[in-house]
Assembly symmetry: D2
Homo-oligomer: 335 residues x 4
């Protein structure tokens, strides 16, 4: 059975997901697209075997030929499309962020809870990355004992000019927050944000930042964002456990010995580092939707929790204080 | 456009490829199967959406609904099916070996040359492995200068009881031979086989072996087969160039610090090590067949060359001599 | 010229230094010993070619045959011997700590400043460790740009029963404090101490700890003490700079491939890790004393600064607050 | 007790050893020097506290103040000085080679056997290198099971113009031969030498070479010499055992992440790589001589065996044949 998918948002990320669904993963077909820019949507549809163009996302969701929906539109529109898909009882994959405010995230959860079944998956692709999965396996198998500290390093060679102070938290560290929650299997309960001596490559930006988070059980989490570090895109993670530590290995596949040195390469950017994770993410989503056995990927609750942690992080960044994170009660649907 | 594939041979490897075509890669559909054991074939077909069962491989090849053929049957039957597919003008993917004798390989090439177009691809999956591709990229980009020596290490934790002396060459080192030809972009011209002090885990087997090969341009190639080495399945490769060396990195994705040591895991077996390579191999074959722009994977010539090197290797093993490898003229179709 | 050395304190560490001076390094001779336990002192002297035994440390210092003094006695006695040696104008090497209170450290500095010349060296041996020196060289050579963050990890397999809460700071992290000051070439200005979820191997101990320090220029320093981590004695350090990072490499000298893993060993304890550093420390001290060109090793100021940071650290540990570190003015003698 | 040493040969290597004895290691004093160039000898003596100059090496050996002799003169003179020292019953440390012909080596052994006690040590410093010792420890402790294959890689960035074809064997691979005998604890019994495609940086030189040796028990030894490989001085070694492998780790002490890569440095030359080994070599020799408990370092037999293997290697290089190595009977003194 082929899953008939409709894609809302045909910008860069939407086109990449359409390519993925069409040429890389198995079991899905893109049958409809919609975009605020109808010309762009028509252009994309023209390149597909058999895809309709809808004027509005809501029309695409209502289309009886559409089994499942992917939302890659502008962030502020996510809520309306996700809620509509849930109301229509259709599985919906929503790119990050789930919504742009915690209230919007809560409304999505409320809709899903009212609907009674998980329909929403959020695009936290790191959970589908093979090295991160191996790290989680090491933790869960008890290879290093119970986790006590987790170091999460997020380094970019550079960031575009429009990158603002807050983005180190809401665009960059948000991935570290989600992957930490997933790796450790528990919620974050407090955050401090400390600014290091600024990197001169970053102009007026406060970069790097060191964030110290606490989990409910007392694990300390150290998130470093260094977004102007020149040498590459380097994602690091080390869990310090009771008996040892487990860390993401370097990803270079060839050891070069030359020019008085021996070593491996570091990725240039996130595309190089995570391209395979996106493929796995969609393949598993398709498989689960087709099987109808329930979704196991990042849920509305995960999207909501990331948002709450980001809000606390921004508050901590400006105040210099330790900010407590209060998620409120977790609906039974998500346990 | 979906490629309609017929699979001849529904044993372990055939079933695994059917799973791959159905659930992992994009753009293909299994529409027919055949096996000497018709019960097995029917069982497999029953698990597919829409697949016919043919009594004979030849019938499957002749079926107008079949666009392309995959041959996973018993080695001695490869020749007849591959030649039939070529005669029918259908692309055919043949698992290793292409055929069991160099004469049979030559007859396949003759048929393909007579047909006038490349139709055959042989299942040397290492060429689709990401680390090997990164190694080839390093060589081709000149990162370490012109290659002068290549070390190829092929280590298995253990081998089954039916593993014989010759199999170290025809079943094990054959992969090293093919990947060496591909990495270096030239033919092998001579081989010596030396038996080291035998590993006591191998019983009466001559294991490990050290094979010294020469390429046409004078590169020395050192192939080690250690098939009872207990510690894991470890595929190693290092090119020594004029300015430096490039080697396959270890593939472990998590660095563990525990019990007075720090390190990464080594695969248990070839499935773990090469599973992703098979996926890429089939995806690229499907893409090329559908695009109709010509095949770039391992050809009949590559299957033939591997067979000739194996024959020379076995001769070298028994004689203790340096055996020259003579491939004869390469048909223009393969250049 | 052979340097004639007197050693005050002939316990475990004193005997080890006497062995080092006698059998490992070049240019020194132990000519006198003193210990509160005169029997022990006589025993040690009996094993030496030509060594007197003095009843009191002060007598040893006054002995005209003694060119230089090494103090390895009980911590609370350090001040009196160091001050006496300075008064006598003799070079004195004092094991950690320089003294047990900042007031005592200040009195030593006052004495040395009054004397007008550096006579005191403190036993912070990490500054003589080859990996740390290579790290400092990398920083100073600009290999990774200006330092912005420094991670210092101090992991012990286990600690003895008498190890107390404060010792994580005054006995363990004190090394990280000193080496940080030396690597970065600047003073520490504030400290926070956070307790992670406790390691169950540590009983009631607060372990691990994460300490966040700030330097005068704004570098953030992250010190982790994990003193019950079972897997070995592992000293880690990574400087995050403007253009890249530099980290202490693992020290294992043999890569083992066995039992499904590949990796190197981790030291069992500090002796194994730092034994060579002690040798270099004494050789350079002897060379500098003999050359008479002035001491470059850790000074009274360094001993004092470490003490002040420890005091602040203990205060931070108990209060949970960020504690500022105030060293006061640095005497010109130490710049 | 200080060992009074006389040094014959005050060229570059002699001066370096005199520096080592005077300023680095413990327990020795240089009391006499001799050199064919008496001006040079006087110059060196002038820099020492208390050293005589002898016109001839034989006079130095006869000097009653000289306890032990170090021979660093021109190779062809080694025999006469070593034999004279043995005749005088004085311990003699002789730099490589022990002598320039196997006959000369045999005459030295004859003299020593007639004398009845080991007096001679040959300067194969790799046996004192910490990584090699760790490798030997791994082998001897059974960490990887019985050795079956040994890979020894000897890579130089470049060689001087006067480097000839034979020198790859007698100057370069000779170290690999000795260290192989020592690591495996057995003799080499045959050698083949194969020339790879020549490195264009090496002009007309046959470089790299691959040498395949056999030990008495059947271990295969693969020695690679690549002496124009530009990237650095890189000494590699990997023992393939029955259960796993053990290899020399890279020696870089700082992991740098910069410019899209992560890795450690490779030494520039042999001085950087082996400087510490020379120190240990002399310290242990001094300690053993002073203790009078017998020498355990490389013996005359080791010097002789290396010479015989080199002779066979040169023969193999020119003939292309497998050459058997025949050491003859080993005198009981050396077992």
């Amino acid at each position: 059975m082929t899953l008939k998918v409709g894609v809302i948002g045909t910008g860069m990320i939407g086109r990449d997901h359409i390519r993925r669904l069409t040429k890389v993963v198995s079991g899905a077909e893109v049958v409809a697209v919609a975009d605020a820019d109808e010309v762009a949507a028509k252009e994309v549809a023209a390149g597909l075997a058999n895809a309709k163009v809808h004027a509005r996302g809501e029309d695409l969701i209502a289309d009886a030929d559409v089994d499942a929906v992917i939302v890659c539109s502008w962030g502020p529109t996510h809520e309306q499309y996700v809620v509509a898909a849930v109301a229509a009882g259709k599985p919906v994959f929503c790119e990050k962020p789930l919504a742009t405010t915690t209230d919007a995230c809560r409304r999505i959860m409320d809709a899903e809870v009212a609907h009674g079944r998980r329909r929403v998956q959020v695009g936290f692709m790191r959970r589908y990355d093979a090295p991160y999965r191996a790290l989680k396996h090491a933790i869960d198998s008890g290879a290093v004992g119970a986790p006590l500290i987790y170091y999460s390093g997020h380094r970019n060679a550079s960031v575009p000019d429009h990158y603002t102070k807050d983005m180190a938290i809401v665009d960059t560290a948000v991935h570290d927050f989600d992957v930490t929650r997933w790796l450790l299997g528990e919620e974050l309960s407090a955050i401090r944000v400390l600014a290091a001596k600024p990197n001169s490559h970053g102009g007026a930006l406060q970069d790097p930042l060191l964030m110290i988070l606490e989990t409910e059980s007392g694990v300390l989490v150290n998130v470093e964002t260094s977004v102007n570090i020149r040498y590459g895109y380097d994602i690091r993670g080390e869990v310090v456990g009771e008996d040892g530590t487990a860390a993401l290995a370097d990803t270079g596949q060839v050891v070069l010995r030359r020019a008085n040195g021996v070593g491996v390469g570091v990725p240039e950017d996130w595309r190089e580092r995570f391209i395979a994770a996106y493929d796995v993410e969609f393949q598993e989503w398709i498989n689960e939707v087709v099987a109808g056995t329930g979704l196991t990927g990042p849920s509305s609750w995960d999207g909501y929790a990331a948002q709450v942690v980001c809000d606390a992080g921004v508050k901590a960044l400006y105040s210099g204080d330790r900010i407590e994170i209060d998620l409120g009660a977790k609906p039974a649907l998500y346990s």
